[in-house]
């Protein structure tokens, strides 16, 4: 099937070099993170450090509390994801399945804010958190990100596609709305819920501007903010900077490589994930 036709050769001539270019920065990052300080400035550059200097990673944990950054990122991204998916799903159920006064007006309000860039609300949110005394706390990192208008919109569209007969049967059996929600609607929405969860987690794991603004101590920094602190202190210590970058990438890239299908499906389903 895969003959050496002219077409296939041309395809390979295009795909192979571009794929190498795409992967090069990751390889270079990993390679630099395993070099000695002197080896970094070698010309021509070499990709295979000899010996492999794993001590860049141990040093990383000595100069800044990277374990703490890691922990903070895990806590914040997980908490936001759980809250956002749960509250969006509940709100989406109300919008998609229940009739109540003011429903359409309220939904238009949700839609209208989707277009407003996050930078518009970051200033009032900062002032609000400051007045609450929440700057530099988990509440500040988690709560403002946890109530997603986008998630509500996405799940509402998905719930609308679920046929109503299933619910009618449940109503005849005397099910409450909560039972219909948890036993009929949620089990039928697996792909949409997991797509929303994956991208909410990813977005918050990688988020930078927001945690940068609402934290100011090292102890409350997330990984991205910690990396920025590292760059501020060791501006040209490339081995250390690259070790930190590898650390921030490994969890997400590992999950991605094992769950590639879900990421791809999620993107085509939601159109999110771009920057």
């Amino acid at each position: 099937m895969f003959g050496y036709s002219l077409g296939n050769v041309l395809l390979a001539a295009f795909l192979v070099p571009t794929a190498i270019l795409m992967l090069m920065p990751f390889v270079w990052m990993l390679s630099t993170s395993l070099k000695s300080a002197g080896e970094v400035f070698q010309y021509p550059p070499n990709f295979l450090p000899n010996p492999l200097r794993w001590d860049n990673y141990t040093r990383l944990f000595e100069v800044l509390p990277f374990a703490r950054f890691f922990f903070n990122s895990v806590v914040v991204a997980s908490a936001v994801t759980i809250l956002a998916v749960a509250t969006s799903a509940m709100a989406a159920y109300a919008f998609a399945r229940l009739r109540f006064p003011g429903r359409d007006t309220l939904f238009i309000g949700y839609l209208a804010t989707l277009m407003i860039p996050a930078q518009v609300v970051i200033i009032p949110n900062f002032i609000l958190l400051r007045n609450l005394g929440w700057i530099d706390s988990y509440q500040a990192l988690i709560l403002p990100a946890a109530f997603s208008a986008f998630g509500t919109f996405l799940l509402r569209q998905n719930f609308l596609t679920i046929p109503g007969e299933l619910e009618d049967a449940a109503v005849v059996d005397g099910a409450t709305h909560w039972q219909i929600f948890t036993r009929v609607i949620l089990p039928l929405s697996g792909p949409a819920l997991s797509a929303l969860a994956i991208f909410t987690f990813l977005f918050n794991w990688n988020s930078f501007l927001y945690p940068l603004v609402v934290t100011n101590s090292t102890a409350m920094s997330t990984l991205t903010v910690g990396l920025n602190t590292l760059q501020g202190q060791y501006n040209t210590a490339w081995t250390l900077l690259m070790a930190g970058s590898v650390l921030a990438l490994v969890p997400v890239l590992t999950v991605f490589l094992f769950a590639q299908r879900y990421f791809i499906k999620g993107i085509t389903l939601t159109g999110i994930g771009g920057r």
């Binding site: 895969f2 296939n8 395809l11 795909l15 571009t18 992967l23 920065p25 990751f26 270079w28 990052m29 630099t32 400035f41 010309y43 550059p45 749960a86 509250t87 969006s88 509940m90 109300a94 919008f95 109540f100 006064p101 309000g109 949700y110 804010t113 277009m115 860039p117 930078q119 518009v120 609300v121 970051i122 200033i123 009032p124 900062f126 609000l128 109530f147 208008a149 709305h177 990688n206 930078f208 501007l209 603004v213 920025n228 760059q231 490339w238 900077l241 690259m242 970058s245 921030a248 990438l249 991605f256 490589l257 590639q260 791809i264 993107i267 085509t268 159109g271 994930g273 771009g274 920057r275």
Partner: protein, 309 residues
């Protein structure tokens, strides 16, 4: 729902219907409450607050002072802000078309039956899931004027005075554009790939029988059948690109001499370094207005080139 329609005896059932409706509405508000509360406190009211703040001078130490449209007038006269606007527009125009063009090429190549498809797709997509801060750090290192990977490669192929990239006022913005194209191409590629897979195969076969060349098929089948995907990718990419921040912050801090200062980076500086909340909020509204207008214009003109069916 089974409600009796007997008009003369409808009193009791009607009351029951009303009670049911009220119960449903109550349940609905219960389901909505957690999200709605958070949405009101952290999104809806802040949007209104941001508008009010943009009409004030407020350094957070003294009470806010109402100044009317003075902040907007200041923006009109602020030459740094003009530079920032121009940088952002150049960034959008430099990133989006190239990124989308490359994404379409790669998607068409990966739409063939070739060995290693999953591997290639993963390779192009990896930068999309990577943290921008982390990859901006490695790109800062790659663009290093003396020891960076890029200039080392340029020396090797005989370029004797390669640009000093991030420390050059001329090359810093192109460098950030290159990095961003690399990071975003996979996102559009995945959407294009999904779009290509939904083009009915029989159209190509029919065209082949009619003797159409592969370029004809691309021009008259692929492009029109893909136009709704292209439109979607374009709108999302433009919106995202207008909000560029992480790269500019990590790789150049907006420099040298404002060469890579973008709207969002400037908002960050004025709000959280100079504590001029009112002025920064006015910039944020200008950003919103820009995104809004560009998006509306794209929707307006879509009818001329987007085919839905």
């Amino acid at each position: 729902m089974a409600v009796t329609t007997n008009v003369t005896e409808s009193r009791a059932p009607r009351r029951r219907t009303r009670a049911l409706r009220r119960r449903t509405a109550l349940a609905a508000y219960g389901f909505l409450l957690p999200n709605l509360l958070g949405f009101l406190v952290f999104t809806f009211l802040p949007v209104l607050a941001a508008l009010l703040i943009s009409f004030t001078n407020w350094d957070l130490l003294r009470p806010a002072q109402w100044v009317g449209i003075a902040n907007y007038e200041r923006l009109v006269a602020d030459t740094t802000f003009h530079r920032v606007l121009r940088n952002t527009v150049v960034y959008v125009l430099g990133t989006v078309p190239i990124q989308m063009g490359l994404a379409l090429l790669v998607a068409m190549a990966l739409n063939q039956r070739i060995p290693g498809r999953t591997f290639f797709r993963a390779a192009y997509f990896m930068p999309v899931v990577a943290s921008t801060v982390a990859v901006a750090l490695v790109w800062r290192w790659i663009f290093h004027a003396d020891f960076g990977l890029l200039n080392s490669a340029l020396y090797l192929i005989g370029v004797n005075d390669p640009p000093s990239w991030l420390s050059s006022t001329r090359w810093a913005l192109p460098a950030i554009i290159i990095m961003s194209i690399w990071q975003q191409v996979g996102f559009s590629m995945v959407l294009f790939l999904a779009g290509l897979q939904s083009v009915p195969q029989h159209l190509y076969e029919a065209a082949k029988i009619d003797g159409a060349t592969s370029f004809d098929r691309f021009r008259h089948i692929t492009i029109p059948m893909l136009s709704s995907t292209t439109f979607f990718v374009l709108v999302i990419s433009v919106i995202n690109s207008f909000q560029v921040f992480d790269q500019a912050f990590i790789m150049t801090e907006g420099g040298p001499a404002n060469a890579t200062n973008t709207i969002v980076f400037n908002i960050y500086r004025y709000a959280f370094q100079f504590f001029q909340m009112g002025y920064a909020a006015a910039m944020a509204w200008v950003l919103f207005a820009l995104i809004f207008i560009v998006t509306v214009v794209q929707f307006r003109y879509q009818r001329q080139w987007v085919h839905y069916d």
